[in-house]
Symmetry: C2
Subunit: 143 residues, 2 copies
């Protein structure tokens, strides 16, 4: 192990490792249930705003813009704990999700379909917890 | 919403969206506790092997190689459930972690440090659940 990797893995300096696009992966779980709500990305500014405010900010790769979760829906995420992984290239946010859900499709979590195991070849997904908890058209004003 | 995005988000065909390097992000949680154990990447072959075997396979970006979790440590991950997110660019594995831990540093989870909230400027990490549960030198045969 190099001194540098020891510092990253065993040290107390927060030195997030952004990818070539300046982004780091953020995994968001529901603080009470442990369910994964979403996987998103943050740039340095989103990380700083999340730390300062205690509410989740991300960077949208499609819209190429910083965004605060819930800025249009009201479904903000109050961060109960923020953790970084061993090599500091991933973040884990345990959040209190305000409102009925985190997913832009109108569901509590983005992970509403399961991949059956023990098969090979084409896979048919199975809906799990797939009921919509809000109407995305009404909340976001678009389909 | 286009027909294509509707198919991806609301359909039952599993069409994982790999990034330009041929990889998809995989979030791994402990099936019983909901704790995030690690974030890794899979290529198409790792996805197929995981589905077929019910044990977790990944792709190492640093070693540029397919690897089965636990192939050297014995700490395999039995996948209890595999889910895909709305736009099919992230996977969530709920696993039973065999052995004392998932992290190459010798810990149960890779997320053993917290980032204090409500601050600005330089951040000092705080260890949480940071005790080593195994000796990585003994398990992996290297430091």
């Amino acid at each position: 192990m190099t001194d540098k990797s020891r510092d990253i893995e065993e040290g107390t300096a927060f030195t997030p490792k952004f990818d070539p696009d300046g982004l780091i992966t953020a995994v968001v779980t529901h603080a009470a249930t442990g369910d994964v709500l979403m996987v998103a990305h943050m740039n340095a500014e989103a990380v700083a705003k999340t730390i300062e405010s205690g509410e989740a900010w991300y960077y949208s790769r499609s819209r190429k813009a910083l965004w605060k979760k819930g800025e249009s829906s009201g479904h903000v995420q109050r961060v109960k704990e923020l953790r970084v992984d061993c090599d500091q290239d991933a973040l884990w946010l345990k959040v209190e999700q305000v409102g009925p859900g985190a997913c832009h499709t109108g569901r509590r979590s983005c992970f509403y379909r399961a991949v059956p195991l023990g098969r090979s070849g084409a896979v048919t997904l199975e809906f799990r917890d797939g009921d919509k908890t809000f109407d995305p058209k009404a909340v976001y004003g678009k389909s």
